[in-house]
Symmetry: D2
Subunit: 197 residues, 4 copies
């Protein structure tokens, strides 16, 4: 029985590099894979998985209407690899989970875990709930601790705490930070004396 | 800096045993802990953490109104342990995450990952999104594979696929199963030819 | 294909409790298991797996001459569980690895990782090299960090740094500590200016 | 307190790619790292970490005489990364473990876990015993299962089961395989009826 894997991380941990390496490992052994990324215009273009180390590959895209099934997958596929998996719908994650466990190949999904508010992306929430194997890919905060959260900063470098989950074409940037830095600037607020139990 | 841990599993994997062992490990070294479980009437009574191996312990309870804060926690606590953590609210999980990373002790949460429909519990969804350390506790399906899902069966032993997430006082029972068994009985449905990309 | 698992820890992390829970999980589903511990006189007696939480169970024993094979295992065994697995020989670990991968059931080994000098036990060295799944069971140092090493102290509470790996019938005791505490008392030594490359 | 990490794998899993990505993640945030590989002539030359995806980087080398210490490391190093870590000595691994836990930066070691006979390399044995964090990097066997072992084949493609752990300048090649394939060809041997307990 195959498994559904979710390799999650904050921004800029090396998810795409890892995905391209996994695809290479299959193809080097003469096996066929199918690769997908979200049909959004990202830093490397539509339908391109690009790594900050300079690796690039043109792949198929998925949108909210894509259906993942054994029939659609075709014969002889050894692995399905999906980048930007935070944009999958809950239903698509269920399709992929079922596909792996009802006769299909393993499915490797790579994506962000949480957004700039600390809330889950829909695809990540479903993958964290259903995937058979969860693996965190580590990166580092500017303070040298492990980064697991993402900050959004505006064009002037100020932190943004409200807004849409995804902004297309703006000046926003993101920074991977540790939880301690993520919560730091709230600390001038006087905390209410919690009841705790 | 302390961490927020989430140890998740399907039904009957041994979560409560593991929690009681962790509390024992602290107390044996002369450290103080605080233990909580959800304020629901479960198989061992309100405010009791009970293990199928026969271990039991009276603990504090939490409800949706409980606030977790450093002030409420008190001085000298080496660890906070929470059973039935799937019933925490998203806000409570954020309080615990912040508490661990802004000067408090480690927080160990134990809970179910998904319900009988394969959907997340609110506390689990938040913990899977925020916890610094995710650890799956394994148990087995009747088919001998790893069980990660839960089935609900009614008083006559028939599988139930719809209904409330939590039923108090009914005849329902739960069974931990692997994804392959979880999806098995749907297979007389003719699957629609998915587009897959 | 089944797997060979190694769940390792420092002293007093709860290994035996976890093993007894895993056996219970199988038996509760009507499956048969075989349990082993090393044929040494330990705190709970020969052939007894005992947990500090008060759980106990009489089991089979293994010594250096025991051979593990599919034939010897018998029909219908769903799982093999082995406590004190640090005392297995390298050859026995190979037998168990082969057994799991050539048609046998899963094998769950529990044991110490390193001795009071920071050196491996023979069984642990082989399991760390061959096991398909390595899982650390956590416990805590008196300083509140994760303990992964073991100290030996003599009858007067002084640390012992040399001697036999296993002492039968002495006054020695062991304490689980973090690496920082394990290395601490060496620090009055002036460290030689390492070449580092 | 920093940690010693060991990321282990069979041949051709992508260890060097992962190491180069980790170094990049630090340097992109303006932090300095030191990179090492074994002073052996490998496929990409002496003192070069090369990835099958085409990435390359000139780095420092270590040999059996290298000493790793805080003094030798120098000020302001955020991370030490070591490739081909299976060739470290036991003493060097202890130096690195101590260094991380007595005030130094994190140390990330990448290496093979076992040789073509299923025996540990010296550096891997020490890292598996001492490292604070063990992470397996996965690759696949030709049979599509997870590969965790390595086969040696001679110039004519025949499996070699005896010989030196490391051969310099020969025609041998290596193949990552799953344990089931690793043990397969022994099966025409009649297994002795094991006593099993």
């Amino acid at each position: 029985m195959s498994k559904l894997y979710f390799r999650y991380a904050a921004m800029n941990a090396g998810k795409s590099t890892n995905l391209l390496q996994a695809a290479y490992n299959y193809e080097e052994r003469g096996m066929r894979v199918r690769l997908f990324t979200a049909a959004l215009d990202n830093r490397t273009g539509v339908g391109v998985i690009g790594s900050r180390l300079g690796l690039q590959r043109q792949v198929e895209t998925f949108g909210p209407e894509t259906e993942f099934s054994l029939e659609g997958l075709g014969e002889g596929i050894a692995c399905v690899l999906i980048d930007e998996a935070q944009f999958l719908t809950h239903e698509q994650v269920q399709q992929l989970h079922r596909l792996a466990h009802r006769g299909g190949p393993p499915v490797l999904c790579y994506g962000l875990r949480s957004d700039f508010r600390g809330a889950a992306f829909p695809g990540s929430a479903a993958l964290l709930t259903l995937a058979d194997d969860l693996e965190e890919m580590k990166t580092i905060c500017a303070c040298a601790r492990k980064a697991s959260m993402n900050l959004r900063v505006d064009g002037e470098g100020r932190r943004v705490k409200e807004g849409e989950q995804v902004v297309i074409g703006g000046n926003e940037r993101y920074r991977a930070v540790c939880p301690s830095c993520f919560y730091a600037e709230d600390d001038d607020e006087v905390p209410a004396p919690g009841l705790f139990g």
